[in-house]
Homo-oligomer: 424 residues x 4
Amino acid sequence: MTLEHLILWRRDLHRLPEAAWKEFRTTSLIAHHLGELGYRIVLGDKLLASNLMMGRDVDVAAEKARARRQGAHPDWLERIGDVTGLMGELDTGRPGPTLAFRFDIDAVEVEESDAEQHQPQQEGFASHNKGWMHACAHDGHTAIGMGLASQLMAMKGQLCGRIKLFFQPAEEGCRGGKALAAGGALDDVDALLSLHIGIHAGSGELVINPTEFLCSTKFDVHFMGTAAHAGLEPNAGSNALAAACMATTAMLGIPRHRDGMTRINVGQLHAGCGRNVIPDHAELHGETRGADSALNDYMFSQVQRIVEGTALAHGVTYRIIKQGEAIALDNSPALQAELAALAHKQGLATIQTRRFGASEDAGFLMERVQKQGGEAAYLILGADLAAPHHHNEFDFDERVMQSGVELLAAWARARLGVTEATLS
Amino acid sequence: MTLEHLILWRRDLHRLPEAAWKEFRTTSLIAHHLGELGYRIVLGDKLLASNLMMGRDVDVAAEKARARRQGAHPDWLERIGDVTGLMGELDTGRPGPTLAFRFDIDAVEVEESDAEQHQPQQEGFASHNKGWMHACAHDGHTAIGMGLASQLMAMKGQLCGRIKLFFQPAEEGCRGGKALAAGGALDDVDALLSLHIGIHAGSGELVINPTEFLCSTKFDVHFMGTAAHAGLEPNAGSNALAAACMATTAMLGIPRHRDGMTRINVGQLHAGCGRNVIPDHAELHGETRGADSALNDYMFSQVQRIVEGTALAHGVTYRIIKQGEAIALDNSPALQAELAALAHKQGLATIQTRRFGASEDAGFLMERVQKQGGEAAYLILGADLAAPHHHNEFDFDERVMQSGVELLAAWARARLGVTEATLS
Amino acid sequence: MTLEHLILWRRDLHRLPEAAWKEFRTTSLIAHHLGELGYRIVLGDKLLASNLMMGRDVDVAAEKARARRQGAHPDWLERIGDVTGLMGELDTGRPGPTLAFRFDIDAVEVEESDAEQHQPQQEGFASHNKGWMHACAHDGHTAIGMGLASQLMAMKGQLCGRIKLFFQPAEEGCRGGKALAAGGALDDVDALLSLHIGIHAGSGELVINPTEFLCSTKFDVHFMGTAAHAGLEPNAGSNALAAACMATTAMLGIPRHRDGMTRINVGQLHAGCGRNVIPDHAELHGETRGADSALNDYMFSQVQRIVEGTALAHGVTYRIIKQGEAIALDNSPALQAELAALAHKQGLATIQTRRFGASEDAGFLMERVQKQGGEAAYLILGADLAAPHHHNEFDFDERVMQSGVELLAAWARARLGVTEATLS
Amino acid sequence: MTLEHLILWRRDLHRLPEAAWKEFRTTSLIAHHLGELGYRIVLGDKLLASNLMMGRDVDVAAEKARARRQGAHPDWLERIGDVTGLMGELDTGRPGPTLAFRFDIDAVEVEESDAEQHQPQQEGFASHNKGWMHACAHDGHTAIGMGLASQLMAMKGQLCGRIKLFFQPAEEGCRGGKALAAGGALDDVDALLSLHIGIHAGSGELVINPTEFLCSTKFDVHFMGTAAHAGLEPNAGSNALAAACMATTAMLGIPRHRDGMTRINVGQLHAGCGRNVIPDHAELHGETRGADSALNDYMFSQVQRIVEGTALAHGVTYRIIKQGEAIALDNSPALQAELAALAHKQGLATIQTRRFGASEDAGFLMERVQKQGGEAAYLILGADLAAPHHHNEFDFDERVMQSGVELLAAWARARLGVTEATLS
């Protein structure tokens, strides 16, 4: 896999970033590439458990029309149903274990910088989809996955077992992982690898066992009250906005926990319709986090109680809707050692452990594999950055994509490679 | 009845004011006076419905000991049970209607001024019971009642029917009226009069139909949570103080009502035990008011919902305890006309209507009488004042007491008087 | 003036309602009609004080384009500048007083009912401008003004003095009146009449002296804080949403006032941008009201203090922007009597006084006239209604428009009419 | 020093515990003991900087009278001024370094258990001062200090340099340490030792370098508003209780900090005077904590801003009063090694580090010594406990007191011991 190919793919994706659950163009291009290579393709509708997809609000027809205008592959676009993402499967035909890789493909809501010195501007691949940007390197992850697909297919003759490449939609906000895990396609996987570019590590480095993945629940709360004329009969209303204000204030006051880090945020609040009307609805978007699942559960259970109580206090009704979820993740120990050795051979400087400090819904996939006896690991592929993740001048050293492909391919060869003797 | 007697009684009571439910000395002196005159005495324990006495927290033994030291009548003090107040009944032995009069006897929590120009200081009858003062003229009401008792007994030979004189405890905070009404002693009463000295009217004036008696509910709320060390495990507590703060804030925000005046106050809040302990209890004292019963009910039902909801939101339990209650009152129309005519004859300037603007639990007594077909009225006996009611320099023109006795006696004569012919 | 004409005008306006400050079509049609009749036209830009127009956010080009598509008069549309509304002046050429009339022309944000039994649906003149509706009878007011213009011009030969017809934009939200008053065109007016259709009075009735016009201030508050990643460094943000919640809660808790009715509402709150970002901005839309200006000032001054304090408590900055204002209004006594007599003659049942209970920025115009010694009155022209004002099935008995025109014309004749003798 | 002596002292102190700043009996007994031994005594008035004593509210005459009744040493009681605590100094007369030891002497507000199985009840030394208890082992610390005084004086002939024994008042609530440090008596000290019995370590263990001493600020907030009759003119008040509720709610919502553990508590709130009066004062008692000084400063600065802002929002004034303060502390490395070696020799099991997890104002004393180039350490002398610290059944294995005395004496000998040669 030449670096030039990886860069072409990455920049094409960077130029046309797609939001979570709207990655129709991206999905069609990956599907076309893997399909051409000979992979068996399973599309999103068959891959994700529909009842567990979170934070999904898509006008499918409009998004597909947009994707078509922006150069989606027309045949695949037609085949894609309502749900983005896909799996490509390579079956060597020889008995052996099943390996899996997971790449996330969606962009983030950041308006890309138009500063002259910003490399994507200079090189002409800055985002054309205003307000959205690949500021979290998922374009790089996707390119690595596409490159790995080529590489593995080229090695097919020397491999046994099966390989599954997962291209997951909606990682931002931790909205897609739980549904992908529950979909069942990982249930025969013996070992799963996932990676992220450039978190707290530079080019040429590999973090073997990143820690402190925050457990998180993303939620919306709706309060439904009764409107009334605020001048004529204020007593006749049930004030949803007042309930939301009190709920927000109370949530911010959830006590800290003895056992470690917790977080709460109400990031958005929208309520009311007219200046002189008692507001009959309010909607807030929030999230809890915890250093582990018990801590996050503590926070979210308090949120639920606060919402119930403040709704009661204001005589309004409510709904709480989970919009995303991430759990902790633990790299399988033997797999860590194996990958450290491979990285070493490849000339990468290995870092045993480093703080991740954010959330990742890969945890659901890893848990699914590990619970049935498989192994799983999540790596940080170091990369020099122009600016931090989610910053509007984010950019990364594209050369690391090649290392990524090579490391993953090397691992596949180590696990699935067959000797000449076996082949004959 | 000479004015000198009225003044003596009033000043004696003024000097030794007793708080609501603690009027043991006062009760004993009235009972002695009426008993000597020949009235049948019914004491508090037999007079008030025990389950409806509100805001009552009395160390009976200690208060009786105090009353004894302060010159209570020893025999009557012994006969008084736990509950203060009394009724004296005069039965003429001749068939006829039953009239009733109600006087309130308790003092208010005000520390009397020690200013030289304050008349009670000059004349040496300022309060000896520190922190308590007859700053609402109940000393005057009681003296009028005692004087009326003498006057009526003196007229007994010319009267038919029966007369009941009610000396009600615990009017301040509207704590005694509901229990007295429910006690049943008013159930055979054909007409009831009550009066207040000096509200918005001067010496020589009589307000026939005062209006805007505020309906009110006095309540305490207790929140019970769980203590925990605020440093070591803040998550382990349930914060009763936080619940009380949120409840208070929400109560202050109860919407105004289309139909008229409403009020809410949280007058006291006491919570917590140690600086470094999550507070496990909180207690707040509040009141609602409304221009009519529906408005006060609206306010108090919101309070109840808020307490329930905020307790739930904070994971604490709660109790709401009613500590006082006042309803609206309406003077019977025919009785108004009758009293206006009598007042006229007596040389008083009558004012048809004037705003009362506060609460009075005489409403319960009047409602009881009126519901069974009787008549009732509440009068304002005008008096020039040294300072407003509840002020620490409150004092009133004592001469009006004599007018009061005469007006009430004149009414009794008009209703119950018998002609020589009848007598012979 | 035939009723048929009035109905045609009213239904045309009803079909194409225009929001406050966007009444370009309406303004052009009125201007055309009055211009044809021979009135001197003064358009909005010359009529309203630009610094006092409140709650104005208009894309003038887009609105004019819309108005053109919807049949605005093209020549007048061109002459109208940025500001809607107009005055038409009739100068009789004979010395005499100056009379004025004020009509409001904007629609309200209500989506008209599509129920079959709703008369405007049946007759085909329901709103074509989705989300907006003449649900406050300003279409009727405007039609009356146009009919009056015809009538008065027809009478011109029998009149002395001058007549000014004001068609005011942006009465909804009380946004235009203050600027119109300050514009100065009323400064030579001796007497001003304004009216409203159907508030608490039925067809055939006229309320001579409606009362309880609420004083009101409409305001927006912006809080500006600092964004930060809610997971990584929550301490680095300044939470504008939290400030807005606390401000809202505190505003709802502004104490009731001894002197009478007050109101507070926060009708809308919009805050934050991303679920995982400490919100750096919040915007709330509110209003205060009071039974008189002092009460409204009390409320609004508390709002200002609360906003300042809560901003400080949360380390954010703020702006408060007035978006509308209404003051009380008092009908000149002599004018009341005069109008009652005229109404009587015309066969209308007069009601001396009735509660208005809402806000009206005609108060600014009346105050301007009265302060310089003129007279002013605001009448309620009774009308049977299909549903209350601002309801989506609002409709009124169109026949009352003719009575309205006749009453106003009769008053003009009474004040400005000249005898044959004078004319000859 | 026999264990019997230590136990006698400890149980005598346990039976008559004295609150912070009220340790008059305790101080007199220590002073008497050390004075008899030949120590130079410096009493509290000369030892503590008066402007930095925090959370001190003492009726000195009453407390001294109580202390006298409870067996204080009468001569010393007379000599003690207003301030408790003392220093005893032993000067060997030979040149050498100055060593210091610090013991805290006050009790904590806990009502001792009357359970039969509670050892102090069985043995008859449970607290006679109701509501107060030596539930934090300061009785043991004091006994160790008194025993050490005897031991050192017995060794005087073999020592050079000087020794200062500090008996600090008011450690609970971290109220006395800052004033003692600022008093200057430590300024010539070369090395300082302090210890605590039984925190997270059992009998026979010694923790060399306890960590995670929480920085903390204890504070009271007073809000001063304006009273008004809640029914008659609620608008005339400035509600201090409402301000306190909002301040409390906002404080609980101070954002968590990226850099580590923070805490906030409002442990008490007392506000208002009458149910029907707008509350004109409110007082709250709170504390902030942080894993280090920067974190605690972050918390406390937010508290200050919140109080200022909420006071402004409610139109009330405020005062913030610091009632206690603790900073972090770090054991000098060389001293750690030295003490570990000594403990080893003495047969104690040493634990290098263990979490302390609470606050200690010894930090101010240690900082004072270390800043001028001296060394300091704080040790945990392990002890088996009957119940946790501050629990009402707290009790500790008294035998550890002897180990404590021996370890401290051994250190003094190691540092100040002189050879026979030197002596001769």
